[in-house]
């Protein structure tokens, strides 16, 4: 395809360009440029999704060389769903961030350049079909995310950023070691070349590579027990940053784990390994939810909720491994739906949380009294996002959990059903803990200021999207199926 307006390359080039330009423009500048460019990226992602539905998955040879000499990009339904999620979360958050940094300028100097590079890294990662190129996108993603955690300054955020940096570098290092082993075995890093070469009797180096790469991704996705870095990093950053990180960044490494598991390393997967991932996911759901319940800071509660919600994503592995194809399809649909629903809902929740903190001037759940009366739309958004996280109908979270429950019952793995139900109840407990406080009258001596309208409406747009996803999720599942027939 030799079309100047082909959406595929522009989805990567555009955020790189505006991120760099925002840096040249100067500290705190570039917000309007970013909003316009992300809107354009959203249109490009929609156009790409349309192309895929019409004519199937696409391979794009960068430089015209083609794998294995050059680097290939690949867009299938799964990649397109993640691209749509990324732009759909980023656009309201960019609008939100402009209002947020106007009200609370700490950390605004470098927010836009970092965000541009972050979105470029995400789009490039979703589209890459080359193991070494994925490593480069992981580095870009990790450094942009660490930079975003550090922008607010102060001892705690910088400590959290350093801890995050070490965790994410260790994860990338494990990935790179795996890539080196694969290259040493087969002489190529192209997914299209490698996939037919890897079979059940692959050499030890390949099994080792698979284990290393998967372990690195789990560390970066903050799956229990690798979640130690996430709450301080996500809970300490400015609200738009927490939203971007929780909604999108951890989804990118989950996406890679899923791709490797279902495609490249599919011949090496075992039921035992899949059950282990499921057990870690279940532990994350329970442990994350319980810790969320015990938090006294609002942002930390939402951050621990992310630890728990990541667990649901990993229930997909035991439900999609060595089971009948129909069951596996419904598990995959459920897992991806969970990623999308959580992305939208958690972005809404962190955005609403940020508004409440700006309004009350402190990050303390016990001082939320009066928020319900002063910021009803923000509290409503928080509640709607909570509905999605709990998995109540008609939200996107309900569709996700319904699909996962269905495949758990079909494959006779009832224990995951128990975990999901208990997790839903715990989620309800910590969401209501916040709602209850916010409905109380304002305590004497506390103040609840108004916040800019853009803060309230962008959070509401995200929360509404997470609910509508449940009602209108069918086209997304149709898109997800593109390129998965084989």
């Amino acid at each position: 395809m030799t079309d100047f307006l082909d959406p595929l390359p522009w989805l990567i080039m555009l955020p790189l360009a505006w991120g760099t330009l925002a840096f040249v423009l100067g500290p705190g500048r570039g917000g309007r440029l970013a909003v316009a460019a992300i809107a354009l990226q959203g249109a490009l992602a929609l156009q790409l999704a349309g192309q895929l539905i019409d004519s199937g998955a696409r391979v794009y040879a960068v430089g015209g060389w083609g794998a294995p000499l050059g680097i290939d990009l690949m867009a299938d339904g799964l990649a397109a769903v993640m691209l749509l999620l990324t732009q759909a979360v980023a656009l309201p958050l960019a609008v939100y961030a402009r209002g947020y940094f106007a009200a609370s300028p700490k950390g605004r100097e470098l927010f836009w350049p970092f965000t541009g590079f972050l979105l470029a890294a995400l789009n490039a990662l979703f589209l890459s079909a080359d193991l070494f190129n994925i490593y480069v996108t992981l580095e870009l993603l990790g450094l942009a995310a660490v930079g975003l955690v550090a922008i607010a300054g102060g001892r705690q955020p910088v400590t959290a950023a350093m801890r995050y940096l070490f965790a994410t570098l260790l994860g990338s290092g494990a990935w790179l070691l795996g890539v080196a082993l694969i290259y040493g075995t087969y002489g190529s890093v192209s997914l299209a070349v490698l996939t037919p070469l890897i079979h059940a009797g692959a050499p030890l180096a390949v099994t080792l590579a698979a284990a290393l790469m998967l372990a690195g991704l789990l560390l970066k996705t903050a799956l229990f027990p690798f979640h130690f870095w996430l709450p301080p990093a996500h809970g300490g950053a400015p609200a738009p940053v927490s939203a971007l990180l929780s909604a999108l960044v951890i989804k990118a490494t989950f996406y890679l784990a899923l791709r490797l598991w279902l495609e490249l390393f599919a011949p090496l997967t075992t039921v035992a390994a899949a059950q282990l991932l499921g057990v870690l996911g279940a532990a994350a759901i329970l442990w994350g939810s319980v810790l969320a319940l015990t938090q006294s800071r609002l942002k930390m509660l939402v951050a621990y909720s992310t630890v728990a919600q990541v667990g649901y994503l990993f229930l997909l592995f035991p439900l999609a491994t060595l089971v009948p194809p129909g069951t596996a399809d419904s598990a995959l649909a459920g897992g991806v739906m969970q990623a999308v629903a959580h992305g939208l809902a958690k972005a809404a929740m962190f955005a609403a949380t940020g508004s409440m903190i700006v309004a009350t001037g402190r990050d303390d759940i016990s001082r939320l009294g009066g928020v319900g009366a002063r910021l009803p739309l923000t509290l409503f958004s928080f509640g709607l996002a909570g509905v999605t996280l709990m998995g109540l109908p008609p939200s996107g979270g309900f569709s996700a959990k319904w699909l996962l429950l269905g495949s758990a019952l079909e494959s006779g793995q009832w224990w995951w059903v128990v975990v999901m139900i208990v997790g839903g109840l715990l989620t309800a407990a910590y969401v209501f803990k916040v709602l209850r406080r916010a409905f109380l009258p304002r305590a004497a001596g506390d103040r609840v200021a108004r916040v800019p309208r853009t803060l309230e409406f962008s959070a509401f747009a995200l929360a509404l999207a997470s609910i509508l996803l449940g009602l209108f999720g069918a086209p997304l599942l149709e898109l997800l199926a593109v390129g998965r027939e084989a």
Binding site: F23, P68, L140, L143
Partner: protein
Amino acid sequence: MKAWLTALIALLCSGLALALGAAMLALPEFAVRLPGQVAANLDASGVAHPVTAVLLNFRGYDTLLEVAVLLLALLGVFALSRHASDHAHPAAPAHPVLQTLARLLAPLMVLVAGYLLWIGAYAPGGAFQAGAVLAAAGVLLRLAGLLPAWAQPGRLLRGGLALGLLVFLAVAVAGLPQGELLHYPPALASPLILLVEAGLTLSIGLTLAGLYLASAGWRQ
């Protein structure tokens, strides 16, 4: 608590090392032979040195993203140094011998950087090596007390830091009407690669020097 954790980590690391060793001993023959493909396509790449051909043409997309990673690393230093700036101190005046030496060496280093950039087309060299030499000149001048530390980079400096990536991006999308991203028409491949490398040399030099100059005031 600490002791058993250390022992566990040591055990895991030794296990990994043994497994890696065992895996190394059992490596099969390559299924794909990339060096042959690089050699076969070298004529069409616009340069005569295989490393430069891979870096700037066959896998130029990786390099494009790596350049963004480099700029991002500097942005990370800026993010931290804004908060450390209270502790910034001017460099202590250096010994006059060092200053004289630095004044003599810096122009020579710029010359070497230009040479490395030019020779990259057909021998080991290129933008990264040339940029590293430029950066070394910057660090040397700073150590000699002839360059101030960067507190807040001005627009000109920011433009210089971003120039390499912006030129690379422009070249990458300029080929889109005729072909894919980063597709160089064979006749223009050579000058386009030189253009990209020239921009990169300046920006890589500034970025690497900046990693030092932006944090130079932190220590005391």
